[in-house]
């Protein structure tokens, strides 16, 4: 019954669990392939004719079987070697999801080098830091844009010796002494192989001695504070975690996934590389960022992973489009969505549902759910995960009610993703599931969640101090998140541990918790709560331009800019209702009731990563915002009704400018548990 039955989960069974996992991993990878180059060879043998990679390019899905991939990687790897890549060297991987870039990682690993995938869209300064810190010797990049970026930062990365690019366009006139076309490096490798056929054997021998404990990859965590840190993960970390993940969700070589999330992110690394290699399934790379929706529909992935914002966007798109549909159609849609809300999840969870409802649901499947899934390209989805942040319960329920097996996952780079997972049939909106196979979990005295697992990272590169701060000598890792383990064994995350604070009256203040509650309203895109060591809670709010804009269009509200829409009194009224609802919810939770929102304002500009207000993964940088909008925070607490501010902004084309606005601040009443409420004491 229990999905865990096959693999031991370890909450509370610490030392024993560790041993078992070693045994488990050996059995899951029968021939004992413990590194990706070795797994590649196995796949080429076992799944030789199965498609391993696809890329939509030149209008069709170019495909490579495992044995072709093996040859491609071998040729490129040998080419890299002839360029002088050595064991221990770091190889930066910069660009969008392309098969060749994934191959480059394994090609580097085959030579004992360590790939370092980097966020391709990070600004030059950020990238220069990472590359310099990692001391990369080689870089494999996508195109001219990345080549230019690397050349511009050459001084900060003195270790960089060679750059290999995938797309030659525009690079014809560049000095090619240290710059190489991927194809020509590969051709060089092929030529060498032809000349000396024994090279193939030598190449295989080169990594046959590799151990699972070797460093497989280095991923830089973007981090909400300070400089990014290089998380070193070993082959064991990744291979064992990946196999555990595969077993947990019964993934095999028939899966299809879409590789569209940044390659530097652990999620993509595990889903599109580690799990793909261990299970032998097919990874599909979209044609471009503009065509992802089409590409996803064409491929119809069976295993799908996305951060909540992807699902949010999908839902928003569905709703916005349905607004434009004819009356009958909309009524039908609403009706069947009602049916789905009532019985969809029950059917998915295998609970008992009356025959009439089942028939209705089947009709709905034909008329609405099926077509919707078809449009989103999720028709064939066996398992889907959302992680990275909390997903709105409404959104989550919506997708599940359509019959999609969408689940939540809690993970970290340092854990090779998996910490907790929601097992099939045990889905609760407010928890992130039970410990993943082989993962032990505990809550520290300060409320921080800690775990220990085979996926636990080796250490931070060149940062022993940080390693020591995060990982205890006996292998427990601080997640940095505060949470509780519920009675049913599920983990519930409240907030970042360091962000959980106290109001001056001593009540617990979990800003993220409040923010997420706010963000579950489609009209609210972002929220930042303040209150630590203050007498009450105040909130900044960013409205969602798509949702509110669509509302404005329907209600004939004219607006020229985000700023204007944000200041609209009707919008304020709408947001006020949302805030009030959140307060009502908070009032019903004994631990949180003291931290209800007393004042809020709608920010005059959208928080933007270009201005440093968000991280590249769209997470709020709280302290930065607190500094930048100090006058507004002051206004939140000094009782003033409006405040005039001037803010520096960076436009899309890189120009700097400033916007000015008078921002209105609203007071909110406080609720008590139950129905009644008392006026906010001033």
């Amino acid at each position: 019954m229990e999905p865990f039955a096959r693999v031991q989960s370890g909450a509370g069974a610490a030392p024993e669990g560790k041993k078992r996992h070693m045994a488990g991993s050996a059995s899951a990878s029968p021939r004992g392939e413990d590194t990706f180059p070795k797994i590649l060879l196995r796949n080429a043998k076992v799944f030789g004719t199965r498609t391993a990679f696809r890329e939509k390019d030149f209008g069709i899905w170019q495909s490579w079987t495992w044995s072709e991939v093996c040859e491609e990687i071998r040729a490129f790897s040998i080419g890299l070697k002839s360029l002088g890549l050595q064991a221990g060297d770091k190889v930066a991987i910069v660009g969008a999801n392309r098969p060749r870039l994934y191959w480059s990682m394994v090609a580097a690993q085959a030579l004992g080098a360590v790939p370092v995938p980097v966020y391709a869209d990070s600004v030059a300064e950020e990238m220069a830091y990472v590359l310099g810190h990692a001391e990369v010797a080689f870089a494999v990049v996508q195109d001219q844009e990345q080549v230019d970026k690397l050349i511009s930062m050459a001084e900060d990365v003195p270790s960089l010796k060679q750059i290999v690019y995938d797309e030659p366009r525009g690079l014809r006139d560049y000095e090619h002494e240290h710059l190489h076309d991927f194809a020509s490096v590969q051709a060089e490798g092929k030529a060498l192989l032809e000349k000396t056929p024994s090279l193939a054997g030598e190449w295989e021998e080169g990594f046959s001695g590799g151990k699972g404990a070797d460093i497989a990859v280095m991923l830089y965590t973007s981090g909400t504070t300070g400089r990014p840190k290089g998380v070193m993960l070993s082959f064991d970390n990744l291979v064992v975690s990946a196999i555990n993940g595969n077993v947990f969700d019964r993934l095999d070589e028939t899966e299809e996934v879409l590789a569209y999330l940044p390659m530097a992110w652990i999620g993509d690394h595990v889903f599109s590389l580690a799990q793909a290699f261990t299970a032998g399934y097919c990874v599909n790379c979209p044609e471009s960022m503009d065509t992802i929706d089409t590409d996803r529909r064409e491929i119809a992935p069976t295993y799908f992973f996305a951060p909540p914002r992807v699902f949010e966007t999908m839902l928003t798109n569905i709703m916005v489009r349905m607004e434009d549909a004819g009356k009958t159609k909309r009524r039908m849609f609403d009706y069947f969505m009602g049916v789905a809300r009532k019985v969809g999840e029950k059917i998915l969870n295998g609970e008992s549902v009356s025959l009439g409802d089942r028939l209705l649901y089947a009709l709905g499947e034909f008329c609405v759910y099926g077509p919707l899934k078809n449009r989103m390209g999720l028709t064939r989805m066996k398992v889907g995960y959302t992680a990275g942040e909390a997903i709105g319960p409404e959104i989550f329920r919506f997708f599940r009610s359509l019959g999609l097996n969408l689940k939540q996952l809690y993970g970290q780079t340092e854990a090779s993703v998996y910490i907790t997972l929601q097992p099939d049939g045990e889905i609760f909106g407010d928890t992130v599931g039970k410990p993943a196979p082989d993962v032990e979990l505990k809550i520290a005295d300060n409320g921080e969640v800690m775990y220990r697992s085979p996926g636990v990272f080796v250490g931070y590169f060149k940062n022993d101090q940080a390693t020591a701060e995060t990982k205890t000598p006996d292998g427990w890792v601080h997640t940095g998140d505060a949470g509780i383990i519920a009675d049913n064994g599920h983990l519930k995350i409240i907030d970042r541990a360091k962000d959980v604070g106290k109001l001056t009256d001593g009540s617990l203040f979990a800003p993220k918790y409040i923010e997420n509650k706010l963000k579950f309203f489609p009209n609210i895109k972002e929220a930042v709560a303040f209150g630590h060591e203050r007498d009450r809670v105040g909130v900044f709010i960013n409205i969602d331009l798509t949702a509110v804009g669509s509302w404005a269009e329907r209600n004939n509200v004219n607006y020229a800019s985000y700023q204007e829409l944000a200041a609209n009194p009707d919008v304020y009224r709408m947001i006020e209702e949302h805030v009030d609802q959140v307060n009502r919810d908070l009032a019903n939770e004994p631990m949180m009731a003291g931290a209800q929102i007393r004042r809020f304002l709608v920010l005059h500009k959208e928080l933007d990563a270009d201005d440093g207000e968000l991280t590249r993964t769209q997470k709020v940088r709280r302290s930065f915002i607190a500094e930048r909008y100090a006058p507004l925070i002051e206004a939140l607490y000094d009782g003033s009704a409006t405040k005039h501010v001037r803010t520096e902004v960076t436009f899309e084309d890189g120009r700097k400018g400033a916007i000015e606005a008078t921002v209105e601040i609203r007071d909110m009443p406080v609720h008590v548990a139950g129905e009644g409420f008392q006026e906010a004491a001033e």
């Binding site: 209008g59 050349i151 050459a154 006139d173 560049y174 000095e175 002494e177 240290h178 065509t291």
Partner: protein
């Protein structure tokens, strides 16, 4: 050692290359009139292989007529045109096309009933030869040929970054994208000389920048000689190697952009000083 500190883009020196360039097309004393109205009067200039040649001038200066003469749509009453060393007599537009002259139009002249893909495929017409019989059977040679050319067309789609609109009927595209598709269609002909009639008319700044990049890339990647008409002087000065200036159907200047820009006649023409 810092391998990348110094070597940025060092293109071969412009001067050395241009001196060696050979003549692609020469226009000698060409005059054209419509029922007594002179559109072009006694114009001579040349286009060298591999260069970007701009033809500029105020409205009604005869620029488009000049392009029409070059690709055989109009037949000049006087003068000769020497194309790749051969003096050309009267020729039909489709002959010009088969000799390697492609063009785009001032007001986008795409085939409205077709998709982006088909429009660009239509540029391959001259290079496809399977006859009616094979086309009818499709399986076999005709299909093979179609696929062969589809591959080339996909290169162009990739080059122009129009993957997302591959199968969209062109009528639904924005003006800027239509212009891009039209450029793609002309490129599909693999021309020796590409005539662009106001490639950036009616575009916003971003689209203009994109288009400029594509034009430069075409010139550099494929070595295609380009003759273009353009109103935006900034664009002309940035893109072109040499500029010829027309006014009222007469040539008033010819030379490198800087030189032309400083020419008093050109300044007068643009300021509308009467002659």
């Amino acid at each position: 050692m810092n391998a990348f500190a110094l070597d940025t883009t060092t293109a071969p020196s412009d001067e050395t290359v241009k001196a060696e360039r050979e003549l692609l097309l020469r226009v000698d004393n060409v005059s054209l009139s419509f029922g007594g109205v002179k559109a072009i009067t006694n114009i001579s200039f040349d286009i060298q292989k591999g260069e970007i040649r701009a033809i500029i001038g105020p409205n009604g200066a005869g620029k488009t007529s000049m392009l029409n003469v070059i690709n055989g749509f109009y037949h000049p009453q006087e003068g000769t045109i020497t194309w790749q060393g051969q003096v050309r007599r009267k020729m039909k537009p489709y002959e010009a096309a088969s000799q390697g002259i492609a063009r785009t139009f001032q007001n986008v002249a795409l085939f409205k009933g077709m998709t982006t893909l088909d429009n660009i495929m239509s540029g391959r017409s001259l290079k496809m030869h399977r006859n009616f019989f094979w086309q009818m059977l499709w399986r076999g040679p005709a299909e093979k040929e179609e696929i062969e050319h589809r591959r080339k067309v996909e290169d162009i789609i990739d080059f122009l970054e129009i993957q997302a609109i591959r199968k969209t009927p062109v009528g639904r595209l924005s003006y800027g994208l239509q212009k891009r598709v039209e450029l793609g269609r002309a490129l599909a002909m693999e021309p020796d000389l590409l005539l662009l009639d106001e490639p950036m008319a009616g575009m916003n700044l971003e689209e203009k920048e994109d288009m400029s990049r594509f034009i430069l890339d075409v010139n550099q990647e494929f070595g295609t000689t380009i003759a273009l008409i353009e109103h935006d002087m900034g664009v002309v000065m940035d893109l072109s190697d040499r500029v010829v200036v027309l006014d009222y159907g007469k040539k008033i200047a010819d030379g490198p952009p800087e030189e032309v820009q400083a020419n008093q006649d050109v300044i007068d023409a643009y300021l509308g000083v009467s002659h």
